[in-house]
């Protein structure tokens, strides 16, 4: 469809959540904004392929997600390095205040496999249905569900089970929750 005023406004209105998605995916604000810019350029260049009445945010998220993935392959080493050094600075420090907890959460999120991270963000933060998230990621609904579940398990392990690389026995989780309640 042609770029009408209202479509343009809708695209602009999607920018804040596109940025949030990009930052959550990349963990890097500058790179995220470049991704958003590239997404907007692509979207406008291909606006004719947008189906009127279909889900505009989902369409834009799909573009951004695909850009990120092609970009990610090129930069994987860089990302892993950044992740490694970042994680190291956090490892010895328990979450003592909200800010630190926030940083720790972000670091944990970056440790998730990309498939799981994007599924969790789309469903848990962007508010897409499993169906929309599946369409954005080009996979089955069941796949998204299982990725989201695995992402949650892994985050639990990283954040709330001390020192565990894998998700440990339930007893450990209960002990952590029960023991550090106060």
């Amino acid at each position: 469809m042609p770029l009408t005023d209202s479509l343009r406004d809708d695209i602009l209105a999607s920018v804040p959540s596109l940025r949030a998605f990009a930052i959550s995916l990349s963990g890097n604000g500058d790179r995220a904004d470049d991704l958003v810019q590239e997404t907007l350029l692509r979207a406008l260049a291909n606006i004719d392929s947008f189906q009127p009445g279909s889900n505009l945010p989902a369409w834009l998220f799909t573009i951004l997600r695909n850009l990120f993935r092609s970009d990610y392959r090129k930069r994987r080493r860089e990302v892993e390095d950044a992740d490694g050094s970042y994680a190291k600075t956090l490892k010895t420090q328990p979450a003592q205040n909200a800010h630190l907890e926030f940083e720790e959460f972000r670091a944990a999120l970056e440790k998730l496999p990309q498939d799981q991270r994007e599924a969790l963000i789309l469903v848990g933060a962007s508010g897409f249905s499993y169906e929309d998230a599946a369409a954005i990621c080009g996979c089955a609904v069941g796949t998204i569900k299982s990725r989201v579940n695995r992402a949650r398990s892994k985050l639990s392990a990283l954040l709330y089970v001390d020192g565990a690389d894998d998700f440990g026995p339930d007893e450990t989780v209960r002990a952590v929750i029960g023991g550090s309640g106060g």
Binding site: I11, P16, A20, L44, F105, L109, S153, S156, V173, R174
Partner: protein
Amino acid sequence: MKDVKSQAGRSAVPGKQGGLNAEIQSRIGHQLRAMYDDVVRQGVPDRFADLIRKLDASDDNPQLGNTGEIKNDGRE
């Protein structure tokens, strides 16, 4: 009845939430949204509003590279 222990020791339990504590789940959900909404609340940076305006203005013009001038008004 399945014992909870039968699920323990596996890194990912298919199908179910794998005995994950509901409180942990809600905390994760809360943190995820807090992080996300923090960015959403920043709104639309000028950079992107300008970009859309420029692209819109140069709609008939395939050359998008010239950021300096917008030949919209005064030309048909």
